[in-house]
Amino acid sequence: MAARPGTDAGRGTHTLGLLYPPAGRLGEYTTMQLAFVGGVAESAAEQGYDLLLAPAGSHEDPSFPRMVDDRRVDGVIVMEIRREDDRVAHLADAGFPFVAIGRNHRADVAGWVDLDFAGLAGGCVQHLADLGHRRIAFVNRSEQLFDSGYGFARLGDEGYTETMKKLLLTPHAYLCGDDLASGEAVVERILSEDPDTTSLVTMNEAALEGVYRGLTRNGRTVPRDFSVVGVAASPWAEQVNPPLTAAEIPAKEMSRVAVDLMMRRLRAPDSPPRHVLLKPLITLRGSTGRCRQAPGSEPESELPDFPDIDLDF
């Protein structure tokens, strides 16, 4: 085994590695990703570290061994973690200092910071239910992403389904491509399967504008006729009209926490790994409203102002 880097951290490279494969469809970094890159670089600089960025999605990517095996960095922050991720496995096996933004079962040996996607999706459902909605659809990420094992897609789905069941409601989850057209298409599917659907939860910010278009095309005005709530970074949420009520992804905070965990790991290699699960609140903007009964449908409650009073607690 190589020498434990922690022992001579003081004489290390003072450089952190960031393993971050671009998520854009054309192989570019998304706005969201760049926010993380910036956040990590900023926090690292505060600690006196430089940042080395490698687009490695796998340990087979040439940049991975360059960074890790050549010890060009003191530690690595890994992002876009899948359920089975060879980078995490490799790093864990090698005992190389690393911190994960995102998590899987192998990442537990190291520190990680993640969003409670299940909780967020559940919170979105809860928010809609609080507003009186009963028919709540879920728009997830693309099938490919879902299948490739991105954690948040599965976690979100789980959170949604679980909360719906807890509320004795029927879940309707849909996968949706990360583009506008897919957004429009998914709305068509939702409304054709259940035209009485009054709301949806989305984790697909890239398809959001398409979702809005689809709703408009089908005569649903947000938020009067249809409520939309999501998990999204604020630029996406604020660009649409009306602005999306959504749980924010706190990129900056997550980056800072990741660097903090890395510093702990480098300075005290033997301390137990810390795991930080953030659960941001749903920021109320303009895309959700009280459920209005579709004309002709039966009211579900005697007291429309207190729709959930007997359902919760």
Partner: protein
Amino acid sequence: MATFDQGNGHSGWSSEVATVTLGLDGVVTGWSEGARRLLGHGAPEVVGRPATDLLLGGGAPDATGFSLTGSREWRGTAALRHRDGHRVTTTLHAQPSLDVDGRPRSFVVALSPDPGPPLVQWAFDQSSIALSTHATASGAWQRNAVAQGGGGRAALTGGERRAPAYADEGLLRSVRRVAEEGVPLRYECLAPEPTCGPGATPAVLLSSARHRAWVIELWPVRDPGTGEVVGVGTAAFDSSDQHAARRRLALLQEAGTLIGTTLNVARTAQELADLAVPRLADFVSVDLLDSVLRGEEPVPGPVDAAVVLRRVAHQSTAEGEDVPEAAIDLGDMDTYPPFSPPARCLADGKPVLSGVADPDFTAWIAGHERRNARVAEFGFHSVMATPLRARGITLGVAVFTRGEGSPPFEPDDLILAEELAGRAAVGVDNARRYTRERTNALTLQRSLLPRDLPKQAAVEVAYRYLPAGTGAGVGGDWFDVVPLSGTRVALVVGDVVGHGIHASATMGRLRTAVRTLADVDLPPDELLTHLDDLVVHLATDREDLHPDEPYLVSGEIGATCLYAVYDPVSRVCTFASAGHVPPVVLLPDGTARVVELTPGPLLGVGGLPFECTEVELPEGSLLAFCTDGLVEARERDVGLGLDRLCEVLSGPVTSLEATCDTILRALLPASPYDDVALLLARTRALHADQVAAWSLPSDPAVVADARAQVTRQLTAWGLEEVAFVTELVVSELVTNAIRYGAVPIGLRLIRDRTLICEVSDASNTAPHLRRARTYDEGGRGLHMVAQLTQGWGTRQSPTGKTIWAEQSLPGG
């Protein structure tokens, strides 16, 4: 030619010579009718008696030379005894009656009464009255010394008297008329003082006290024989004193009608000055105590020592608007030293006559550079200072001055000045009292209106309140801006029908009520319902008032009100109206329109519902609230007024203040009959970076998330300093909401001038600030919030309630 009276009741004509014949023995032989008339004796009593019996005292010295011998004519005077015993001095002219031989046979004695010295002529010449005669035929004047203009004979007539102008055309016309018509006439004329000289200008002729007034009596002089008018006699009397007295009376008479025509202090003072110039003085100034101008009650009694007065009015004989004589400009203050005539008159409460001869006067003038220059320039030499006193209080001083070319004031002038000043003082005092009453009413009203509107960020406001014109008195219009929780703001405008103190008082009560109800954060429609109740109660109270109470016609109160709440977060403005003029909104795109509202009933009607109207306003919209006094004029109905308001608003809008002025200029009638309130509000909006709102699940575990989220947000806003307190407040409020409230639960942070933290839920039960006992577990949360924050409160909404807490921000 002159007729005269001998004083004994016997008149005779000089032409009718009494003749007596005497014998040579001195015995009366013949006695004429003329002699009887002269001496009273009849012929039988005298004829045959010696003529010497007729001589007074047995022999008059003048008669001693009388000899009945000789044949010469003889002339002399003799004192004869009248039949009734009195003396008759006669001129005797004896002529012998000769016979053929030339010897005297008898004597014819002609007796004529002795005229004595020419007293009549002398009296005419030396009369103290200007006398003259005018011969009709020749047109020649015969004037006595006075009539000729004094001259060398002035001493005889007291030296002062001057003659009237005999060349006066009016006089000559009268003379002709008397001659033609044969009737006596009286002619009155004013003649300038000779000292004025021929160069006297009309202005000078108008001036006071430089004229003599004459009354000239004219009568026809007839030939006693023929009765034909042969001349005209005149006697001129100097009536200057009577004339002056009449003028004074006329001045006082005018003072009664010309001073005090308005209830304006300065105007009344000016009226005094205008009236007194030029008839009493060349320059008049009126100075008042400053307190009088403010309508305050001056200290009763005289004013002591050096006194500070404000120049309120002055007037002079100078042409044009300017008063070059004035040493003090209108509206300026001056201090009068204690020895100065004005200060002296104020101290004594009596008028003071002074002039160049008075060392105090010269000292006073010398002590003031500008005054000194004016006195020198205009030759002021005589001055009267008269206190303006009414009802026992001293209000100020009027100073009357005469300059070069005018005689000094006389004591009579002082009396006149005092009388004028007295009348003016009453007028000034009336005006002062009115000013005070009106000021009081306006003060009351202004005190009931907002002075400095509270600072708030939701709207930028500008406002105007204009009381009605003097006739209508104060009114009952009001407006208000009430900051509400969550950076919202209530905009209020209302109008109590009617005028006077009572309308103002009612307005004050309604305004207070609106403020109180707004603080409870009632929605507009509910607020008006409560206000309506209040007005109904007020009206009931009023019916119990004393029936003599003025202003009360009936117990009913008519009032309108428009209440609007603007929320800068949602940019929604919610209006409710109780019969009030609707507001006008100018959108940022430049279109202005009347906001369509459900009008609602008037306040005080009771029982009818009010309705809310919600309007979403783009940021920068301009709302104009007004009362009917602005848009409703006598010749214009409300609709037209509102259209006009829209039109004006559509024009270029610079600042709100300037827009206020523009609106008033364009819409206000020349003499506003009703009072006017105008409130302009330009809406602001709070943007995404100032507001953060989150939805909270009703799960106790969320409290920690909420705290974390709030900290995250405050970090993003750079407000880490207040994070600790905010976290505590949020924990408390969120915990309460989860424990006692109903979903949906919302959390909101608003960063404005302060940091506002709001937690809302769907339950309508409001929390109460309980006083927790030592071992109570609950009841501390809100206490803590109250301690930690600047303020907290609750408000109801159609979907539940909101509890808010406000913290001041560092540097905010």
